[in-house]
Symmetry: C2
Subunit: 454 residues, 2 copies
């Protein structure tokens, strides 16, 4: 029974009804040509009747909020649902359903994940095959977004003809041994807690140091983010907005402007956010700060949380897109250099602390009226090869993320073949019509292209 790591513990204890701590993935498939009417029903039945027990981490259940326990009583009914969309069944209605599901708390009495198959989605155009979707939802204490994407990817095939019979939750993952190694059996409960707490001290020192270290103009310390409408107290209401953009266009832009693709993505988000805030008469005078997670994982283990982050200056106060992208790129380079001085355990706890308001206030004793960042913009790896589920082609995949009190919007992206897939998760009650950002992102890509060509 391994203890929860500090990050997992934080993810678990921070959870409230208005702040569910699960991540999600929406996977959109096209029915194979000449598929039978019951194609999706057969997939669904496969998942309902699979005999293989869930693998790690899908078999982990909370025990008194302190320990993970291997669950011996798997009941697929607690986790799986197969529905159709009410009419008209467009992508809009799909997102409405997924948004509501993403608003719901996972049940802590079960291993904390759910899998929904949603059928009957209209074709892209008349004559095309009908579509169906898989929405997968898993608690952030079990996996981070990167791992979640990896897990689902493992359950799909790169071949259009291969048959995959095992549900995603029964695939073998390699995380257990890693986690066991992190919490060796010959250490006592109190010893482990003591060690974990010890790593927090230097982290808190580092955070405090940030307050004074402001000589470098590109250096963003953790208390510098301006107040903004993105940073309100949230309700449980979630809206997921998704769109696919052409990856080759973004890559070409990066090359022409001599920055990384990730910098381009941040610049596109920055421009769109600037216009969104301008439209709402809510653009802060100081630049927005984005929390950009970076994976610390060195192996390909699919579960658990091993993330660190960089705080990126989005330069939303600058009108000139050229200046904006320069500032963003410089701030990213600077941020990445800062983690060399810390051990991996310290970096993990640093993330845990800085991840949320609650963390900062609780552990570092800093001021609740300052905030570390305005939103999280996260880029998780998808797949560069087309994926299939028993012959049904994966059209698109969209990540859905966690919102925290004071963090009412999250932008998570994934690459899939030649697309950059955007999933914007927002608290619909405090940031209505967040889907407008998708249009603004498309416009910003055009703006950057016109600059790069000059």
């Amino acid at each position: 029974m391994p203890l929860l790591s500090p990050v997992d513990f934080l993810f678990t204890t921070l959870e409230t009804r208005t702040q569910p701590m699960h991540v999600g993935g929406l996977f959109l498939f096209e029915l194979p040509n000449n598929a039978n009417e019951d194609f999706v029903s057969i997939l669904s039945k496969q998942m309902l009747t699979a005999k293989m027990p869930p693998s790690f981490p899908f078999n982990q259940v909370l025990d008194r909020l302190i320990n993970w326990q291997t669950d011996e009583d798997f009941e697929v009914y607690q986790h799986f649902r197969h529905i159709a969309l009410p009419q008209p069944a467009r992508i809009r209605e799909l997102l409405h359903y997924v948004s509501l599901e993403h608003s719901r708390l996972l049940n802590k009495s079960n291993p904390m994940w759910e899998c929904h198959i949603i059928e009957g989605i209209e074709p892209v155009s008349e004559g095309s095959p009908a579509r169906f979707a898989l929405y997968f939802k898993i608690h952030h204490s079990l996996v981070d977004g990167i791992a979640a994407m990896r897990l689902v990817k493992k359950s799909l095939s790169e071949s259009a003809t291969e048959t995959m019979n095992l549900p995603v939750w029964s695939l073998i993952t390699r995380h257990r041994s890693r986690l066991d190694a992190m919490f060796p059996k010959n250490k006592s409960w109190t010893q482990i807690v003591k060690e974990q707490l010890a790593t927090i001290k230097p982290v808190a020192r580092e955070l405090s140091k940030s307050v004074t270290e402001i000589n470098n103009p590109n250096f963003i310390h953790t208390l510098q983010a301006p107040r903004c409408i993105l940073n309100q107290r949230i309700t449980a209401s979630r809206r997921l907005s998704t769109q696919s953009y052409e990856l080759p266009r973004l890559k070409a832009l990066a090359k022409r402007l001599s920055v990384s693709t990730n910098d381009i993505v941040l610049a596109v988000c920055a421009g769109a956010l600037r216009n969104y805030l301008l439209q709402n008469n809510a653009l802060p005078k100081k630049p927005l700060i984005a929390f950009v997670p970076i994976s610390l994982r060195t192996d390909d283990s699919a579960s658990g949380n091993q993330v660190s982050f960089v705080l990126a200056n989005l330069a939303t106060h600058l009108d000139d897109p050229r200046q904006r992208i320069k500032t963003i790129s410089a701030s990213m380079r600077n941020g990445k250099e800062r983690f060399g001085a810390m051990t991996q355990a310290q970096v993990i706890n640093y993330s845990a602390i800085a991840y949320s308001w609650a963390g900062i206030n609780l552990l570092a004793g800093l001021y609740p009226k300052f905030q570390a960042f305005n939103l999280i913009i996260s880029n998780v790896p998808g797949s560069d090869k087309p994926l299939y589920w028993n012959g049904a082609k994966l059209q698109a995949l969209y990540p859905a993320s966690v919102l925290l009190n004071g963090q009412a919007m999250n932008i998570t992206l994934a690459t899939y073949v030649d697309k950059m897939e955007f999933g914007i998760t927002a608290c619909d009650d405090v940031l209505p019509h967040s889907q407008v950002l998708l249009k603004l992102i498309a416009e910003e890509i055009n703006v950057l292209e016109s600059i790069a060509c000059n």
Copy 2:
């Protein structure tokens, strides 16, 4: 913050993943003639956007499993879902969906209820209007089956033209004052617990007395039920089977055979169960014992648990249907007479104790290898007038009930206009094909009719 009553407490603490303690109701509607395509979507939107906060008991949330607390943070997203059925969308697929939902635990972090709107169900026959359903699920600690039916009934109209704008969870109920009276504010926590425990002693005495009092052959004591395949350890898998039978036929039978309609219902179930067990080579030599709940409610309050019960001898060992119905009727009369000697509080606790194995073993210290009864057969009042939801006619209503370890089948009935609506809840893993009982019930009605005519 009222304390949980002993019954509520038992319902809450007995809950495990394989033994969820919620009741449900499935309400099947026909679209009004000339209804717009978005009729159900509009209903759904009404419920999602209603401004009225939930009324008692829908606003009660558990606090440390001991107290009820009024919940101030209602989030409709946590409770409401609108879906369509996968194709083909027949009643069979509706029951499949509802069965899976009925298998899932409610989330104890929220007030414990859920409301599902399910659209796109095929018409009864070609040319008839399409159908939709409402599945309502609420924890047994908040209401019993009778109250649940009353609550939903209140949210519907007897008029085909009346518009009902309030969701079922926002209707005013009168239960709060009753519950407050039950737990007066000037009593301390420990006082209340002491008093509640005091009523349990005479109840346990009564239970123990039952073991020796066997002079009256119609008297069924609580430890007399035979072992039977209905009484196995259950899993979380539930199957709900439903059917409507003609109420006038059952009433005519009752009159001709000089018994109550309730006796006829029990006789019909008894005959069907006998044949079901014969088909499975599993008919016990001794008669099955049914636990038949009786409402103790004297007002029309819609919430809370005020049930007592009679243990009915189903005479399944008798081949002659005439003899069976005589024995059943006599055993029901006898059972009803036994509660005169007890106070209402004692009767309520008697129910609580006898309701479940866990209760018996825990509180009365009796033998775990004996069982009190083989199954629950419960008759909850429905409505004798047709009901409408914004013009959509309620075609049928079916109750879905709780199963307990050792109680793998439950039969609950409700009357609706001229129909007797049967809802059979069974653990599908240990009692597969329980839906066959519906056919056997229809056959048994024919058998009794042929007897009554001779």
